[in-house]
């Protein structure tokens, strides 16, 4: 019998071009929004201040101009594998060993040796902007941004301020979070 076998080639060819276009746009959006300056700012809950000035884009970049951020933060649960029930409950944790002072990615504990190291870091940071570069601790024009966790006991910020004052750094900016703008009613 002369039956012919017809092969049906059901080849579906989706057009990938629009999909690739959209993917590229999404990729571009996420890449431009990515924040790689995590070394400068540690994860923490900042206090809210509605009267604060909004930080300009160039002020947010670490190392731009004379600005350096000092973070006073609690050990985090993820990276530092710490489970502090007091901090987790939203209360003030007063355990010295649970708190850190971080500058440019370097973490310092609240112990004498680390605080001395911190002072030498501050002296190095102050020197290029000092009035008298040969004299350590002379008045420096560098701006230091203090970013502290809202639950941090003030004593830890005092210790940081003491080291800053000793290094001649007197221009202090307090890093806070501004509340989201209210939406107009109606």
């Amino acid at each position: 019998m002369g039956f012919k076998e017809h092969k049906v080639h059901d080849e579906v060819a989706p057009n990938l071009v629009p999909m690739i276009d959209i993917m590229f746009l999404l990729l571009l959006f996420f890449m431009l929004n990515a924040n790689f300056d995590a070394r400068a700012t540690e994860e923490m809950v900042s206090p809210i201040a509605k009267n604060a000035d909004e930080r300009k884009k160039d002020e947010k970049q670490e190392g731009s101009g004379s600005r350096v951020t000092v973070n006073i933060h609690h050990l985090s649960e993820g990276g530092d594998k710490l489970l502090c029930p007091t901090y987790k409950a939203g209360k003030v944790c007063r355990e010295d060993t649970h708190w850190l002072i971080s500058v440019q990615g370097r973490r310092h504990k609240l112990v004498k040796e680390d605080l001395e190291k911190l002072k030498s870091v501050f002296l190095d940071l102050a020197r290029p902007f000092s009035e008298d570069k040969s004299k350590p601790g002379s008045k420096s024009e560098r701006v230091m941004v203090i970013r502290a966790d809202r639950q941090a006991p003030y004593g830890y910020i005092q210790k940081t301020i003491e080291q800053l004052a000793g290094a001649g750094l007197y221009k202090i900016e307090v890093g806070v979070e501004k509340p989201a703008p209210e939406k107009p009613k109606g």
Binding site: M23, N33, P153, Y170, K171, V174, P179
Partner: protein, 158 residues
């Protein structure tokens, strides 16, 4: 398949590998994406001539507006003082705000303005949560206080 060889274009490019890689990169950026909160700043200065330590003296001749914050461990609350006068917690921020404003205006009328402006010194104890210190700083900023300084020591001497 799009990108495969056709009559017009005999050289076919296999886009599958590229799409795979783009998907991976897209996934990475999507996962690492974080919407940041609006960052703000509050300017303040350390007393140039004194550093942080010398501001412990409450009986200075130099005019100043001193806000003392102290943590009461038995009650678990932050006590606030305007100079040596306690501000009852029930009177809230408004009382302290009005006292700072009135004192600041009084000094301004005496000629202590611009460069000679009298500083508001926030003098908090080591156990006071940072949030409470920032609250006073925010209050001063809202009132248009020119100089805000950090002092420490008098809280311990009380």
């Amino acid at each position: 398949m799009a990108g495969g060889p056709s009559e017009d274009n005999p050289v076919g490019i296999n886009v599958t590998a590229m799409v795979d890689i783009i998907f991976c990169i897209l996934l990475f950026f999507m996962c690492s994406m974080k919407f940041k909160a609006i960052e703000g700043k509050l300017d303040s200065w350390l007393p140039l001539d004194k550093g942080g330590k010398a501001s412990a003296n409450l009986n200075q001749e130099k005019p100043e507006i001193r806000i003392v914050l102290s943590f009461d461990e038995t009650r678990g609350i932050v006590e606030r003082y305007f100079g040596r006068n306690p501000i009852p917690p029930e009177q809230g921020d408004l009382k302290l705000e009005s006292l700072i404003d009135a004192q600041n205006k009084a000094y301004e009328s005496q000629g202590f303005r611009d460069d000679k402006a009298v500083p508001v010194i926030i003098d908090a104890g080591p156990k006071v949560p940072w949030e409470n210190v920032v609250n006073v700083l925010n209050m001063c900023k809202g009132l248009g206080v020119k100089k805000v300084e950090f002092g420490f020591g008098s809280e311990l001497k009380k």
